[in-house]
């Protein structure tokens, strides 16, 4: 009975509940443009408890089966894995190096995947990518869509590439109206997907 009476207010409470989001840029560059795009995007997300991490803080030796067998998992791998497990949603902005993930990110994913695979089950993802070029990291987006979606079993609910970063992003703001609307639309879809799950 009490549950019935409280239905409306409890639903409201759920909608207001802070979503737990893990966010990181797939770059180890100090001047990462993907970090800039990520920060902008995170600022558009409401009602969220955001854990923004720098992958430089999870630098590990390059994955090798010999290292794993001899020394087990580095603490950084465990920590990163725990952060993923704690999150309901994950926002990633991907740097592209030679058409693929940066090694800095790939290495973390390789270590984490050895703890558990697939490790993104039930996680909802917002994927972004940007580059100075006109393709905006389209190649790494393709690789990542396949990898995070098919192999790591994440649910990619929203994604967009962001071309020609230096032309379209200035002073922490997207200056191209069309691209701005595109990013905001993906943020809305992502936020809605997380909210529906909770309700």
């Amino acid at each position: 009975m009490v549950a019935c009476n409280n239905f409306a207010s409890s639903k409201m409470k759920i909608l207001n509940k802070n979503m737990k989001i893990l966010a990181f840029a797939g770059s180890n560059s100090k001047k990462s443009i993907n970090k800039e795009l990520l920060n902008y995007t995170l600022n558009q997300i409401e009602n969220a408890e955001i854990d923004l991490v720098d992958i430089n803080d999870f630098e590990m030796p390059i994955y090798s089966i010999d290292r794993q067998l001899e020394n087990g998992f580095p603490q950084e791998a465990q920590d990163f894995y725990n952060k993923i497990k704690d999150a309901e949603g994950v926002v990633i902005s991907l740097a592209e190096h030679n058409g693929n993930f940066s090694v800095a990110l790939k290495n973390i994913l390789d270590w984490v995947s050895r703890i558990e695979m697939p490790y993104l089950k039930d996680k909802k993802l917002l994927l972004l990518s940007t580059s100075p070029g006109a393709y905006g990291g389209g190649n790494v987006m393709e690789v990542a869509t396949k990898y995070f979606g098919m192999f790591a079993s994440g649910e990619i609910v929203a994604s967009t590439t962001f071309p020609s970063f230096n032309d379209n992003f200035q002073n922490n703001e997207i200056v191209n109206e069309e691209l701005k609307n595109k990013v905001l639309a993906q943020v809305s879809i992502f936020q809605e997907a997380l909210t529906i799950v909770e309700a």
């Binding site: 560059s29 390059i62 089966i65 010999d66 090694v103 800095a104 790939k106 995947s113 690789v143 990898y147």
Partner: protein
């Protein structure tokens, strides 16, 4: 003709190293240098390290090994449906010295894994990368279910062995 061979793996028991060593023996040329990525101490690619310190001697040493070759045999291990971080990092570093550093190299690219797909995801992604860096891939080959099909230094499955021999012949004619 300078021929070099290596596996895109840093495992001390790399099955790709075993495959590329066998393929090298079939090519039957006098001198083939088998490289091991583990003999080089190259960290994760980092643009800030490059800006602050330039290229390390180890990066230059690996780069020079590849540049000083005409023919490359490469067998790609697969981690997470992709090339390994170690192979990717080495390629990223070298590509920063000269983006087309594999220009003019004739390449035989292979892959193997314990699974039925034989690391074909890695073969596909790695081939794209090698091509982008200027390499000329003439032939490729993938060996599925390594543990069932390979023993004591060679392929034990006759059909697959014949396939590799034919592809090596094809490669020999093209180089």
């Amino acid at each position: 003709m300078i021929i070099k061979a290596f596996a895109g793996s840093n495992s001390s028991t790399s099955i790709n190293k075993q495959l590329v060593t066998y393929a090298s023996s079939l090519l039957n040329k006098d001198q083939i240098e088998i490289l091991d990525l583990d003999d080089f101490d190259i960290p994760t690619f980092d643009i800030d390290i490059e800006k602050e310190q330039g290229f390390s001697d180890e990066v230059k040493r690996f780069y020079q090994k590849l540049v000083d070759s005409d023919i490359l045999l490469i067998s790609l291990a697969e981690h997470n449906a992709c090339i390994t971080a170690v192979f990717k990092s080495y390629m990223d570093w070298c590509s920063r010295i000269n983006y087309k550093f594999l220009e003019g190299k004739k390449v035989f690219v292979m892959s193997t894994s314990p699974g039925g797909y034989g690391a074909k995801n890695s073969l596909e992604i790695g081939s794209k990368l090698i091509t982008k860096l200027g390499g000329d891939i003439l032939v490729d080959f993938s060996l599925p279910k390594f543990n069932e099909n390979f023993a004591e230094g060679k392929i034990t499955n006759e059909e697959l062995n014949r396939e590799l021999i034919l592809k090596i012949d094809e490669f020999r004619k093209k180089i």
